[in-house]
């Protein structure tokens, strides 16, 4: 017999609640990762996110230092503060990763995304699309008598807003680059 008098039956608590002492509030963070541009490095980063169940809202990657063979991966992710901390620590463990920066907390930063939107239509809708594009500083990079392709740069929110406006005006297709981000100042 247990001297502790174990209660029988189930406990009411969720069993392995891993995060009771941390905030449950989810935040969006933009993380910049400097990596050796070697085979498989992107697979490592993506595999980390899928394997550990983290979110990727946006991901961009390109070589930024040709001599040093370094690529910059910019990831926008969502999670509780504890998950965000884990993501950064886990990224830091990947051997070809040189630096991990959380642009959301390390001072202010600028974020830009580029999108191409194809809008088809004629008559009033076509005129209205052009007028709105002008307000959003989107450029026409291709046009036919029935369609435009707009190029717009800005924050993801701005692109979302533009795409929402274009939808009733004949939005057919969208291609987005994902976010590129840099910290402000020297």
């Amino acid at each position: 017999m247990s001297p502790l008098h174990i209660k029988k039956g189930s406990t009411k608590h969720s069993a392995y609640n891993l995060r009771p002492t941390f905030s449950d509030h989810e935040e969006t963070h933009t993380i910049a990762v400097l990596v050796d541009n070697e085979a498989g490095v992107l697979a490592r980063v993506i595999g980390l996110f899928s394997g550990r169940g983290y979110n990727i809202e946006s991901l961009t990657v390109a070589e930024v230092d040709h001599q040093g063979h370094l690529s910059r991966i910019t990831i926008v992710t969502r999670g509780t503060p504890q998950v965000i901390e884990q993501i950064k620590a886990q990224l830091g463990r990947i051997v070809p990763v040189h630096e991990v920066h959380d642009l959301t907390v390390e001072g202010s930063s600028v974020e830009r995304e580029l999108a191409l939107l194809k809008v088809a239509g004629n008559g009033d809708k076509r005129v209205e699309a052009l007028r709105l594009a002008d307000i959003f500083r989107a450029h026409v990079v291709d046009s036919t008598l029935e369609s435009f392709v707009f190029q717009i740069t800005g924050t993801p929110d701005k692109i979302d807003a533009f795409a929402d406006l274009m939808r009733p005006l004949g939005l057919v297709e969208v291609a987005r680059t994902g976010v590129a981000a840099l910290s402000r100042g020297a």
Binding site: M1, S2, P3, L4, I6, K7, K8, G9, S10, T11, H13, S14, A15, Y16, N17, L18, R19, P20, T21, F22, A39, G40, A43, R44, G47, G51, Q82, E85, Q86, A89, Q90, G92, R93, I94, V95, P96, H98
Partner: protein
């Protein structure tokens, strides 16, 4: 000094320059050039296993018992995929191993060539890092880098995939000293401010406890030495995870025994009731914490770990110290001594009085009566009859593993090889072979369950071939005992497929392998049988027939906190709630 040579020769040269004396491997088409080089030299001994999984576990046993990285060589395709379980095992237990795989020639990669598998793709999530080397000129540098990555920071398995044409081609060999090891240089010194904060906490604590883990073993024998000094000088109690056994001696005065799901009563209650928890190289595994929101509710927690991702992963800590256990303990001792070696003696003596009360519960007590051997008795006798030997213990996975952790005492680090994180049945036999290779004169025992043991029993062939006197001590309950125990506690005693049916005659099996078989089912004969096993100069399979329905206690049911421990049979009915039942 640079030299021209073939890729295959480079492999052997690089291994020699890395101080490798033993490679565990299995040949095949894609590694034949390397095998040809191995044939033509004497510096490196190759151990031919019977299955590539065995090669990796043997390398793990070698690594854990020596502190040096273990090395494997296997072929492409099925050779590589057979290594995956071992790689995952080494990843979860932080064991440094270097696995070399052959690959189809570079010009055939991607063509579904014979025995082609995407080895770096398959092993990416189960290695610390891996490389596909397509250029012979880079091969030696990559091998040196692989050893660096495997052994520095948090150790782990690495893999190098070498296409066959790269093995045949000639290139320039780069010796290790001149090889830049790259930017991968984990931090080993801890932050002095936090260390000082911890020392202040040590000075004041009324109910402190050291909670130590595999990281102490990883850090090397020096770290264990420093740990002993600190524990004994402060007079604090100390418990350890399964992976950390031996870092502090079982005979030491601060020792509380293992903690966790099958840990000791006093260890778990000390963790639950402490006001200062000092985690040294352990990772708050779920076998330890039980229910997170009820884990050690009143303590301030310090955590020394070399891997930043271990910090705050599961449990929020107050004093995170990122660094190597040895370095950090050295600094803690320095600061603590410089400040006058203070502890809260009054608080401590009350704390020990409480702990002594918990110890009196004597949670491991059992009675050996009747004609059947109880597994606890078998292990107590094994302990008694072997503890004075120069002894290494391996285990398989299951109840016997937990009993071994409970009833055997470890006085030194690197003497205990077990699969903790992955819980790989089939680990123990090959691991015992790796240990025996590294310590030919020592007594190496694999404490096994019959079901686990069957998973890699082919390695008995390896033991016999290389005259390795490993002792396979099988606690035969004719059950998948740990599974059966969970079915009893959780699934209404419906024992679905947890029987070991159609078991072989282990004595005949031993003889068929050319080993010695010993059978014992009588408590009165046990001592003699164990002595016969110890004294036999060669590999032994010991079929120790034990009580079939024994359960392993203490046990913290899944989803319960430390102070909700089951100590014996009577209290087990419905002890695991619905929310606990979904957990493993």
């Amino acid at each position: 000094m640079t030299r021209q040579m073939t890729g295959a020769k480079m492999v052997v040269q690089a291994l020699k320059d890395q101080g490798v004396d033993t490679v565990f491997g299995y040949p095949g088409g894609a590694v034949l050039p390397i095998y040809d080089e191995i044939f033509q030299q004497n510096g490196i001994k190759h151990i031919l296993v019977r299955h590539e999984q065995g090669a990796v576990h043997a390398a793990e046993g070698y690594a854990r018992s020596t502190g040096k990285p273990g090395v494997c060589l296997v072929t492409s395709g099925p050779g590589a995929t057979n290594a995956v379980t071992g790689l995952t095992d080494a990843l979860l237990d932080s064991i440094p191993i270097v696995v070399l795989t052959g690959q189809v020639p570079t010009f055939m990669i991607g063509s579904d060539a014979f025995q082609e598998a995407d080895t770096v793709g398959i092993t990416r999530p189960c290695t610390k890092h891996n490389w596909l080397v397509k250029d012979t000129d880079k091969l030696s540098a990559k091998i040196h880098e692989a050893f660096h990555v495997a052994t520095s920071g948090r150790p782990g398995p690495v893999l190098i995939d070498i296409p066959k044409d790269v093995q045949f081609a000639s290139g320039t060999y780069t010796p290790p000293a001149k090889t830049p090891t790259g930017h991968y240089q984990p931090q080993v010194k801890g932050d002095m401010e936090t260390i000082t904060e911890l020392v202040e906490a040590i000075e004041k604590a009324e109910r402190p406890v050291f909670y130590t883990g595999g990281g102490v073993i990883n850090s090397g024998p020096g770290a264990s030495q420093l740990l002993r000094e600190l524990v004994d000088a402060t007079g604090f109690p100390i418990t350890s995870t399964l992976m950390g056994l031996g870092a502090y001696p079982a005979s030491g005065k601060g020792w509380l025994g293992m903690l966790g799901m099958h840990g000791l009563y006093e260890a778990n209650l000390a963790m639950h009731g402490c006001d200062l928890m000092i985690n040294v190289g352990a990772r708050f595994d779920d076998r330890i914490t039980g229910r997170i929101d009820a884990f050690s509710p009143k303590s301030r927690k310090a955590h020394i770990d070399i891997d930043p991702s271990s910090i705050n992963k599961v449990i929020r800590v107050d004093m995170p110290i990122i660094g190597d256990v040895g370095h950090v303990l050295e600094d803690i001792l320095k600061v603590w001594k410089a400040r006058g070696r203070k502890v809260n003696s009054e608080g401590l003596s009350k704390w020990w009085t409480q702990i002594e009360k918990w110890k009196k519960v004597d949670c491991l007590k059992f009675k050996q009566e009747g004609p059947t051997i109880r597994p606890q008795y078998a292990l107590s006798r094994l302990e008694e009859l072997t503890k004075s030997h120069d002894r290494y213990i391996c285990t398989e996975v299951g109840q016997h593993q937990m009993w071994a952790a409970q009833y055997l005492g470890f006085e030194d680090p690197n003497r205990w090889m077990t699969s903790g994180g992955l819980g790989t049945m089939g680990y123990g036999t090959p691991a015992s072979i790796g240990v025996q290779i590294a310590h030919p004169e020592s007594l190496v025992i694999n404490v096994a369950g019959e079901a686990s043991w069957l998973m890699n029993m082919q390695e008995m062939g390896t033991a016999v071939q290389y005259r390795l006197p490993v002792k396979q001590f099988i606690l035969n309950n004719e059950r998948l005992g740990m599974v059966r125990q969970w079915q009893e506690l959780l699934h209404g005693e419906r024992y679905s497929h947890s029987w070991s049916e159609a078991l072989p005659d282990f004595v005949k099996l031993a003889e068929a392998f050319g080993a010695k078989g010993i059978y014992c089912d009588n408590p009165a004969d046990l001592d003699d049988a164990i002595m016969e096993m110890i004294n036999y100069d060669g590999p032994v399979i010991f079929d120790c027939v034990v009580e079939k329905h024994e359960n392993c206690f203490p046990m913290i049911p899944s989803g319960e906190p430390h102070n909700k421990m089951l100590l014996g049979e009577a209290s087990t009915k419905d002890a695991i709630g619905k929310s606990g039942a979904v957990l493993v």
